[in-house]
Symmetry: C2
Subunit: 503 residues, 2 copies
């Protein structure tokens, strides 16, 4: 077969594979936002059938032959960059699937499906003991998977690589070390500050239609393209991309808390703006996606926190907001509002945590995952360990396991190695923002002027357009000239806390 | 292979085939109701890929082997009824696909794709001549298809059978003969009647949110299950079923005409109630669908016209409507409203036609299709023939071809044999309503009381539950004890016109 023909057949095969992913994404979006209750069962069957077909394509002999032929070194070197990177990405995914015995993967699917149900009940009944055997089984399976996949000395690194290619425990230990060292004292200083922001006006009745209108207004300004997306309502906010021309977000409204919808919209829009700005030439390859969970999260956190929780942002938008909610915000100034949405308070629940304490929640999960996967901790000890770490880092102890070790769904689904990407997102975001401030003149003034085009262009050129063409570490190096570095997040948080709490 | 295994493999294969259809239906619904503009191109590629996969499954050697093995007479007789009927239905569809040479079908797809674009332009520019060669090509291809498929003496019957299994030109000639004989004088009598209803109050400003609320209220009452469906907005109203538990309808709103959304909602809900009430055991087979286009249309027309344009209906609902629109309907009585929504007026455009003249529009198309396919008419003569028939049946002549022979999309898409099912729907609906009046005591009183459960139960038991288990003619025979008979529609229309126009 000529190389041209081989490449074109391979590209068509990948395009077919991607089409299944897109169809499944649409079926999933519809199920979570629009499908009537009685349609859920039939829908899950259709999703099951198409997922099975997709899996067959992703693990077929034909696919393997393309990947083997094209990754022969001389040939690989002669390919155009997009095809080459698609081959490498495809090979990595293919081997990950192929190395697991199908019956082992099947066992994992069955175990996690049961475990998610058990976790829901266990959380409801505050009963860690009933969930414990499932979690033990999942950890055992993760360890078996790592044996099949192999590891380079540190087992947990193999899991990290699934969500954040190239990331290592060594790097994360350093990152969390800095965050612990600098953030824990910060939280203590805040606790002792007499200058706590007033937040009462955030939890008054906020009309939902007006909340929606304000969110849409802001999202349009920051650059979420509604001709290539839409906002709907779902139980848990999410972003889903079918193609750069169709990236949708969801939110939920709390009629008595302004923050819930607004910050989830700006967060999900951050993810969506990333996907909308990937080079459309990558559509139909394996590269039309964010390059890692951490880089993706950096984009959502950048808009949600670094921009939309900044003083210049509210200097620009507070007037518009106050016009929509004159009674709720009577007597409130832009700076009061800025301080209120940056209130810091150690709390029990990760998803409700503020920008400063958030990483401490993640750190606890990271240390536990590392302990379990590197076999220095046992599942049975988790409730005790959890509470000890909460006490140490956050100064609060959950009254029960439901609001402690049982609060997150991730482990019941077998997602070990995912949590750290939340903090990586914060770290990357601050590091990128630091670079932006050096490269875009008048960064704060632009935000205060409601002028986001230069920032968007910077993000598109430096991050978004590349999709998976660059790895996370390549991106960080190319943009900042150094490796991932938590110092910028620490500086950012110290500066903001000093400002908000007048330390 | 054991018969049990054969049946179970076949059923799984069909389920997979049906899953693709459902996924494609969801992708199509989303494209027409929710997808952002910039997502349309990528979506059409995904639909193309999945349609191709679906076509492969529907014409595969494996499928053929199942169908051949299971349709061996002794084996067929021993199958359970649902599997047997699925085999017969599958064999029919399979042979229809297999008998066409792929390159001939390809030619048809390309021709109709071009023709639809050409038709849009031709209609816009009132230029039949530019569309004529495409229509000639399509007619030629239809004749070639009939040669491949075979026919039993009348070529047009082969096309009719695709939309209305078992229907023949002989039956339709008789049906349209009656309709012409009885409806044309009716239209003339109406024209001469001095008692024309006032319709001015129908075209006042009607708030869209209130229109929607009223439609939803009525649809819930007549039995559209919103836990198994939903209403959205689209350019052209339609109904789409993913499963009996998920049957969605769309509508469009005219802020200055109450009729547009309300009667499209009740029409589409008629289709949807049919699909929602098919026996769920048929889900995942080829039988979980309306049994023909004509029977499907009978359900939409039954609710839209026979129920929701009846006097008892408005005796019940007019009060609710007038409460929502007190200014628009000031001084109007239920009977005035009933008369207004039954206004009869010969007009140029089929989709705007009233209940009486509608079938005359269809008759013109039927006679032309029959003439083209049985080769007694030529495409070049259509503009003249169209106008002559309009003059003869409706007494009006289009000022141009755009509002005449070019008004419908159907022929550009190659859908010959489809139009007659619209009138069949009206005929079946009246025939079923006649049977219902004999079998359900106090039919009008139930409607006047807003009590639709007995009607719904009758429809479910006699029509809906069967899906494709019964052919259209079996259904009509089982319910009415006779064959399709246009007398009931004629009687129904005569009675209503007499009432509305006080003849």
């Amino acid at each position: 077969m000529s190389q041209d023909k081989l490449v074109s057949d391979f590209r068509n095969y990948v395009k077919k594979l991607v089409s299944y992913n897109q169809a499944l994404a649409v079926l999933g979006w519809d199920l979570r936002t629009k499908a009537p209750r009685k349609g859920a069962h039939a829908r899950s069957e259709v999703i099951g059938v198409l997922s099975g077909e997709q899996f067959k394509l992703a693990t077929s002999r034909e696919y393997e032959e393309y990947l083997t032929a094209l990754s022969e070194p001389d040939r690989l070197a002669s390919l155009d960059p997009v095809t080459r990177k698609t081959v490498l990405e495809g090979k990595k995914e293919f081997e990950r699937s192929k190395k697991l015995p199908p019956e082992k993967y099947q066992e994992f699917v069955i175990t996690t499906t049961q475990a998610e149900t058990m976790w829901e009940d266990a959380r409801k009944n505050n009963d860690f003991a009933s969930f414990r055997p499932y979690l033990e089984k999942i950890v055992k399976l993760q360890l078996e998977f790592i044996d099949y996949w192999g590891h380079s000395g540190v087992k947990y690194d193999t899991l990290l690589d699934m969500y954040e290619p190239g990331m290592t425990t060594a790097q994360l230990d350093e990152m969390f070390g800095k965050l612990r060292e600098k953030t824990v004292p910060l939280v203590q200083a805040i606790a002792e500050s007499p200058n706590k922001p007033d937040t009462g006006f955030l939890t008054r009745p906020y009309d939902i239609a007006r909340q929606e209108a304000f969110s849409r207004y802001v999202l349009e300004k920051i650059g979420y393209d509604f001709a290539a997306g839409r906002i709907d309502i779902s139980a848990h906010p999410f972003c889903t991309s079918f193609a750069p021309g169709d990236v949708r977000i969801t939110t939920k409204y709390d009629p008595n808390d302004f923050r819930v919808a607004f910050f989830s919209c700006t967060h999900e829009a951050g993810h969506a703006i990333y996907e909308q700005n990937i080079n459309p030439d990558l559509f139909g390859t394996l590269l039309c996606d964010g390059t890692s969970m951490g880089i993706h999260e950096s984009q959502s956190r950048f808009w949600e926190n670094i921009v939309c929780r900044s003083l210049p942002f509210w200097q620009h938008f507070f007037g518009d907001l106050a016009k929509q909610f004159p009674d709720q915000l009577a007597g409130v100034q832009a700076e009061d509002f800025y301080r209120a949405v940056n209130y810091v308070q150690p709390s029990l629940i990760r998803i409700e945590a503020d920008e400063v304490t958030y990483n401490l929640h993640i750190m606890i999960r990271y240390e536990i995952e590392k302990g379990l996967i590197n076999e220095t901790m046992e599942v049975g000890d988790l409730p005790r360990i959890w509470n000890e770490k909460m006490k140490e880092y956050l100064g609060v102890v959950p009254p029960n396991d439901a609001d402690g070790v049982l609060q997150d769904v991730h482990w019941s689904g077998g997602s070990f190695g995912y949590f750290p990407t939340y903090s990586l997102g914060n770290v990357y975001a601050a590091q990128f923002a630091h670079a932006m401030r050096q490269q875009i003149s008048g960064f704060d003034e632009l935000i205060a002027g409601g002028e986001f085009a230069p920032i968007r262009t910077w993000l598109k050129e430096n991050i978004h357009q590349w999709g998976k063409m660059k790895s996370p570490s390549e991106l960080v190096h190319d943009i900042t000239g150094e490796a991932m570095n938590a110092d910028y997040l620490v500086q950012y948080l110290e500066k903001k806390v000093k400002d908000v709490y007048q330390l």
